[in-house]
Assembly symmetry: C5
């Protein structure tokens, strides 16, 4: 957490607001740029092919369900897949594919495969 | 994600706010028009038979439970039925019928049928 | 969904805000009047014996837990009892009794009875 | 629900806002005074030994987790312990002790004891 | 809960707002200083190596998931680990490590170990 003068002077631009389907998220530019091929990196990088509409609070608007967004953002933050038991993994897969985060897609698919094998073992007992 | 000039110039009208029973959702006009026979398409299309009241934030008001709305909106976004384990499928069916989304009604009914068959197998063991 | 002129002109009074223990709900006057004997019908009908305080947003204040309110409101909307698996049915019963919705009280009691019989079968296996 | 003139004239002071760890709750003075020995009764009674800070919305600030607060408030409202299945009973016990509600502490402890006995039966099968 | 004059005069600075990934929390300076080695104590102590950005409401901004923050804050409040059944313990571990709360890291690791041993017993039956 070393801080040089440049990063302090640009700290105003450090924080990004996202409005995902009506739910507000706040994160850092650094987190969103973690996977340069993702739609999120392209969104804040001003990719000319992506419309970057903002809401009245200056949050980038994304037409997706905010309920499945935390595992996406957390993966960019710390590189792991964390899934709460109530949340449908298929919903997270759908988002990982939408945001085009290749490594996360693989992780969620492996998770679903393991889960289905366990269920199938229980069913055959 | 090709963008022509026309869609950029109309980007202000691209986003729609919905107030579903007190919970705010934000989505695109394109998503709501996906199923032209649905009540949602008719709502934003200014169907003369549907009252389109808006709240103080300009959100269309719908007198339904917002808790069951995400699977509805997600189906219009990506065409799949995703159900979190805690949410009653019967609640989603009720909404799919209210919003008159024929394909989704079929999907939820199939889901409930599969679920009840599995439960019945467990009960008979 | 036929709309006559009178209902359009009174559309401003159509929507009611409720502040249930700090959580905001929005619904229609029509929904709240569904069960004329309920406390909710009496609340918006200006029943002289019920204090109808409103918060700073014009929402009727009710000193109850908003977490158990959705099944109450949904029953008035579509006449069915829908219970998510995480929510304690006893909590909904408590509210159905508070709001004095006779038919719903019966439905929740039947639900609890069925649930307890199933649990008892599992315990005796 | 009889209302005399005095209670109407003091209805402005009837409602109390609580900010529990960042989550807003709204309840009545009457509810908070139910258990006169509780910290909540002392808080709004202006107990000289308790600092009663308020946030910018006039809500009393309490440095606790708002997630475990609903069962506390509901107990004061209707005298029963209602626990949703996802919520850790230990979390509610911690709060019942913090707010010093003797009867509720007993109820939660009995609930935990019953739960642990059932689990232990399942483990020994 | 003894209060001397000094603490009353500084009560304005007693309360701290945190914006954790878009979710607002409110707590006391005292709670955040409980573990002096934690990142949270360093954050509000004005540690020169930590950028302390604030949002428009004066809340310290932290680029983490607010969903896993309650067990962190509660541990600082009362010293116990309380985990709701739906929440992934791995998500809490990730946060305990990020905030550098040594004792909590140990508690969560022990919890995960116990949980995995129980699951493994069930799998081998």
């Amino acid at each position: 957490m070393e801080v040089d003068k440049e990063s302090v002077s640009t700290s105003i631009n450090k924080w990004i607001k996202l409005n995902v389907g009506g739910i507000l998220f706040m994160t850092s530019r650094e987190t969103l740029l973690k996977d340069p091929n993702s739609m999120l990196a392209r969104l804040i990088d001003g990719d000319s092919e992506l419309i970057s509409d903002k809401d009245e609070n200056g949050a980038y608007m994304i037409d997706r369900d905010g309920k499945y967004f935390p595992p996406i953002l957390n993966f960019l933050r710390h590189g792991k897949l964390i899934l709460d038991s109530g949340l449908a993994a298929e919903g997270v897969l759908e988002e990982a594919e939408f945001y085009n985060i290749t490594h996360l897609i693989t992780l969620v698919k492996e998770h679903i495969q393991r889960r289905d094998q366990q269920t199938s073992v229980i069913d055959n007992k």
